[in-house]
């Protein structure tokens, strides 16, 4: 068990964005988190990595209660987070972006920062300004920054948004490649990515876990179909 939440809750002025969520992640698994817009997916992962504090409940990472830890301490414990809305150092070079990501975890693993660029298919662009990359490439850079941290838990918030079909295929291969070593929590709307990469799927609806299971089980679940997948 690498991550556990108990009764995790976050309210925004009466809006119950996340409501009493009990959630566990096994070491090495790839978990997809799906749900309709506004279901509380981003809020939920923000509670995990400490971007926002919970209203109540607890988060345990690798056996330690991290509920009270600030975000940067959690990241240093081996979490990595990529933003839904691309967040990179636009004014710095591509290489400097991954170096900054790798350095905060200095001494954890041996792989060089530029390997991470290779793995997402951005090699040869080291000297470009990150802000000059195309939108899709900026998304890939953000994923590379996640990889460069050699995290134990990688949280990806809609990583394939804005990627081309070819890049999505590359992304699926990358996730399958990482699976086993790295625990991955993936917020994803693209069903083919969910079906082909996730070991298990959790469905969030109105801030609560609606269902959990293998991709096939979730696909067949009538409640999920009603809430999210559509009946088509």
């Amino acid at each position: 068990m690498i991550l556990t939440t108990k009764g995790l809750t976050r309210h925004f002025h009466g809006l119950k964005a996340v409501q009493s969520v009990d959630f566990t992640l096994q070491k090495g698994e790839v978990r997809a988190l799906i749900g309709p817009n506004g279901a509380g997916k981003t809020t939920f992962v923000s509670l995990l990595c400490g971007r926002i504090p919970p209203t109540s409940g607890s988060v345990t990472f690798d056996g330690a209660d991290i509920t009270a830890l600030p975000a940067h301490r959690r990241i240093r414990m081996g979490m990595a987070y990529t933003f839904q809305i691309t967040s990179i150092f636009a004014g710095l070079s591509v290489a400097e972006n991954v170096r900054l990501a790798a350095r905060s975890q200095a001494g954890r693993h041996g792989s060089t920062p530029l390997d991470a660029l290779d793995r997402v298919g951005l090699s040869g662009r080291d000297d470009m300004l990150a802000g000059d990359l195309s939108y899709g490439h900026q998304r890939l850079l953000e994923i590379a920054m996640g990889l460069a941290q050699s995290p134990r838990l990688l949280i990806l918030d809609e990583p394939t948004q804005g990627l081309s079909d070819g890049e999505i295929a590359g992304f699926k291969a990358l996730i399958r490649d990482l699976a086993g070593d790295t625990t991955i929590l993936l917020i994803e709307h693209n069903m083919s990515v969910v079906m082909e990469t996730a070991d298990r799927v959790s469905v969030l609806n109105f801030g609560e876990i609606l269902a959990e299971g293998t991709p096939a089980e979730i696909h067949a679940n009538p409640a999920v179909q009603a809430a999210y997948l559509g009946t088509g």
């Binding site: 990595c49 971007r51 600030p70 975000a71 940067h72 990241i75 240093r76 987070y81 933003f83 967040s87 990179i88 150092f89 636009a90 004014g91 710095l92 400097e96 170096r99 900054l100 990501a101 350095r103 905060s104 975890q105 920054m145 941290q149």
Partner: protein, 311 residues
């Protein structure tokens, strides 16, 4: 790496050589510019490299100046310990005000730093019995002999200013090459991303305030000692705006920018006041033109157009 080191060492060597060739008037000016540029280097560390716009750096400049001057005047301190006390005063003031001001961001940070500086200015006026307020007080020549070198003499004054400026210039160059400096730049570029990469952004910003305040205080202490005067006007809001202008003109977030901006503005006012009594109008027009056509400052434009490698 090598060429940027060569460039900055070249400037240091050039300033040393200028000591032997400049006519007395410009020699005196350049000594003053070097001390003020040191102040600008301190300001640039926070504004240009960390992305925090302070409107209250006069507080640190004055803390250094009065920390030095009061200990000379009332404790009979020698110049070296007096300079050190000025530096310590600046570090302490920066440490406390920084910890409080950094609880805010953006415009609120500007206002809070401005308010701290105004509080400092009024405190100096309130204790006018000791500080002599706006009138200020003179530091006697006999009190300005550092290790046998009479700092009231143009030669030693210039050399002291040169040594201080060179140390701070090369120190800031070294700092921004180190991981700590790279992290400050990352915070300037995208603080939330830096935080979510595991950097303690508050601690980094606080250290940046303390370093910036310390360099500013050192410049203030040196200014008082070299030019033999301490007064409340150095704590006024004007002296918080000056380093902002110098850094903007020279190029925020460049190592050479603070010096170039200070030199440019000093001579802009000096030359235009020789032509007309409306010299502030001329200076103003030039500043507006520069802001329009070189918004990144002189060195910033040079970096953007020609020398992309400039640190």
């Amino acid at each position: 790496m090598i060429r940027s080191l060569a460039l900055h060492l070249g400037l240091v060597a050039l300033l040393f050589a200028l000591h032997f060739v400049l006519p007395p008037y410009h020699h005196g000016n350049l000594a003053r510019v070097m001390v003020l540029a040191t102040y600008a280097i301190g300001y640039n560390l926070l504004f240009g490299y960390t992305g925090l716009l302070s409107l209250g750096h006069a507080l640190f400049f004055a803390a250094g100046m009065y920390g030095m001057a009061l200990s000379v005047q009332y404790l009979g301190a020698a110049p070296a310990p007096a300079l050190l006390l000025g530096l310590v005063a600046g570090l302490v003031v920066a440490g406390i005000t920084g910890a409080l001001a950094l609880r805010t961001t953006g415009v609120a940070f500007m206002i809070v730093t401005l308010m701290f500086a105004q509080a400092g200015y009024l405190t100096i006026l309130y204790f006018g019995e000791y500080t002599r307020g706006d009138e200020g007080f003179v530091i006697q020549q006999a009190q300005r002999v550092l290790w046998g070198l009479d700092l009231s003499q143009p030669t030693w004054r210039y050399m002291a200013a040169w040594a201080l400026f060179s140390a701070c210039l090369l120190g800031s160059l070294a700092l921004i090459r180190r991981p700590f400096g790279r992290t400050l730049i990352a915070i300037r570029e995208n603080e939330e991303r830096a935080r979510m990469l595991g950097y303690d952004t508050f601690a980094h910003k606080w250290v940046a305030v303390v370093l910036s305040g310390g360099i500013s205080a050192l410049a203030g202490a040196a200014y008082g000692l070299l030019f033999g005067y301490a007064g409340a006007s150095f704590a006024s809001v004007q002296y918080s705006i000056f380093p902002l202008l110098w850094v903007l003109l020279g190029g925020a977030g460049t190592i050479l920018g603070p010096f170039v901006g200070t030199l440019f503005m000093f001579y802009l006012i000096d030359l235009s006041s020789g032509i007309t009594t409306a010299y502030m109008l001329m200076a103003g027009v030039v500043l507006v033109l520069l802001t329009l056509f070189a918004p990144q400052g002189l060195i910033g434009e040079l970096r953007r157009r020609v020398w992309g490698w400039l640190p």
